[in-house]
Amino acid sequence: MSIFVDASTRLVVQGITGRDGSFHTRQMIAYGTCVVAGVTPGKGGQTFDGTVPIFHTVTDAVRNAGANTSVIYVPPALAAGAIAEAADAGIRFIVCITEGIPVLDMARVIPFVRERGSRLLGPNCPGLITPGVAKVGIIPGQICKAGRVGLVSRSGTLTYEVVNHLTRQGIGQSTCVGIGGDPLIGTNFIDVLGGFQDDPATDAIVMLGEIGGTDEQKAAAFVRSSVTKPVVGFIAGQTAPKGRRMGHAGAIISGSSGTAEEKILAFEAAGIGIMRRPVDVVAEIRARLKA
């Protein structure tokens, strides 16, 4: 078991012939992900690497190849349209890797996706991986190991750092989910925490947050009210100055709101184990799984 992706995942790659799309499609196939189709308008009828059929539209990929999950590697100006297309085609789970999508585009497309009953992960995220089963996105498969710790994060390489510590100490993961660093995202911490709480294959949860906004504070309240499994957390950006965007469009302290201190206090109040350093994930998880 796992959340969002599993052995039934049939993936369509939107933007499969682009530089990033083609590179990561090969990586996903090599990892064992069931990639059933690609979409590049104008290249319908061709095949990718001689094995994956390419279609003009996502609807064609759903009808002809039975795709049920999509991953998007298209340029920022076209990405919101690609998300809407996937939702209109009946794709239930849409993962958008693209960074740099105008926020007004996201404000329009997020309700569009919700009204069609689909889930969007991202944008500006590394995707997710259920180790040993499937990966959708760009998380390097070789640093992960199948196991029973669920991980949710706003960031990419920080996730790799923490997962790497877990794997090297023999602690495997059920699913690792990157929700993205933008201010407007389709799936938030609470959605993923709820998924892990309900997942019988997950025993404990790691949550990697950062400065900006109030998602971590809300997630902490949710942990207190609705999560019985042990949770450990980390907040990046304790040394970040106010009012500056720290790389991620959403990582900004506005006025005095969204600071690392207020998020860490919220975590502590919810009984979440605080990781002061990425490496502390191992000791915190071990301590809480024993308790």
Binding site: F23, G156, E210, G237, G247
Partner: protein, 361 residues
């Protein structure tokens, strides 16, 4: 909007004031808030006085920015001042209008002290601001219906500006009423979402590079995200989350980070060279720390960049390199061939960089 014009010399200011033929306000045009408090906004009773205040405002520095242009507008008699703003709100994931009859002051102070004085409406950006929504907001400011209708029209125009320019914030502060009952927008501010700039180069054209630190401009042109800080450990990292965590770890081990720097995902050697150039230009930097976790980023690309940089210019402070992930064996070989070595553990690398910076200070 009131009549008026922009000028860059006291002579031009005098000419505009003479044409308007009434008391005027001379306003510094710089991309920061708090201009009034800094003395960048002055009233002048006539054209001679306008010339005189312009002479004082032009050339002055406000928050580090030199004033090269001023706006000259008729001075209005003010009966009331309101605030009208529109921001992209993370909570509702929509543009949210905020209006308050307590205008003319810092709206964040109003929001903190008396939040009940601010009325809010979330707009569905697929439909825009409906007429009844604008009127509802306006009636909360003005009991007089004709004033409310005028204010509602201004709000709808403001929404068009927001949606048409991919703004993350627009505000009118203050929106005033005059003794004759007119509703006028006296000052406005627009912040554009950075992500709009690629498809709307026209929006980037008015960007004022002098408003940013030179190292940050150089980084932006090189495709790097760089933020200058006060410490002495220079940081080069791939990925924003790991970059923040690296700065935090520098602090944890007793050091101070000199910067935030994200070289991005698919880093090529040139980006690494540019990053090193920018960091070594800061005399405060006493040690440089690379922290690279290779996923999409190939660590051998980064190693090649480091070697290339040391060929192009002298790096006179110690460099600590942590590389792990994609192609790390290759990367270690590349560095070893020139007598450099890399670590694979983040904590170890941070500790070394902090110690080296302390030793040099």
């Amino acid at each position: 909007m009131p009549d008026g014009d922009v000028a860059s010399t006291p002579d031009e200011v005098e000419a505009i004031a003479r044409r308007l033929d009434r008391p005027v306000v001379v306003k510094a045009q710089v991309h920061v808030g708090g201009r009034g408090k800094a003395g960048g906004v002055k009233l002048a009773k006539n054209s001679a006085e306008a010339r005189e205040v312009a002479g004082r405002i032009l050339g002055m520095a406000i928050k580090g920015l030199v004033v090269t242009r001023v706006l000259v507008v008729p001075a209005e008699d003010i009966v009331s001042e309101s605030y009208v703003g529109l921001i992209m709100d993370r909570e509702t994931q929509r543009p949210v209008f905020m209006v308050s009859a307590a205008g003319g002051v810092d709206i964040e102070e109003v929001a903190a002290a008396t939040p009940e004085k601010i009325m809010r409406i979330a707009v569905d950006p697929r439909y825009g601001l409906f007429g009844h929504q604008a009127l509802g907001l306006a009636l909360s400011l003005y009991p007089d219906f004709s004033q409310a209708r005028a204010a509602a029209k201004i709000m709808q125009q403001l929404y068009q500006v927001f949606a048409g320019n991919g703004a993350s914030l627009v505000e009118i502060n203050p929106l005033i009423t005059t003794p004759l009952g007119q509703v006028l927008a006296l000052d406005a501010k627009l912040s554009v979402d950075d992500n709009e700039l690629d498809r709307r180069p026209d929006l980037a054209a008015p960007r004022d590079d002098s408003a940013e630190a030179p190292s940050e401009v150089a980084a932006r042109l090189a495709g790097l995200t760089f933020i200058k800080l006060d410490g002495n450990v220079g940081c080069v990292v791939n990925g924003a989350g790991l970059a923040m965590a690296t700065m935090d770890l520098v602090k944890y081990y007793g050091g101070e980070p000199a910067n935030f720097l994200d070289i991005g995902g698919s880093s090529n050697p040139e980006k690494v060279v540019a990053a090193l150039k920018i960091i070594t230009a800061d005399p405060a930097v006493k040690a440089i720390l690379f922290n690279i976790f290779g996923g999409i980023t190939r660590t051998d690309d980064v190693a090649n960049g480091i070697v290339e940089a040391t060929r192009q210019f002298k790096v006179s402070v110690p460099v600590v390199i942590r590389l792990t992930g994609t192609n790390e064996e290759k990367a270690f070989e590349i560095l070893q061939a020139v007598g450099m070595r890399a670590l694979s553990d983040m904590d170890e690398a941070v500790k070394q960089a902090v110690e080296l910076a302390k030793g040099a200070a």
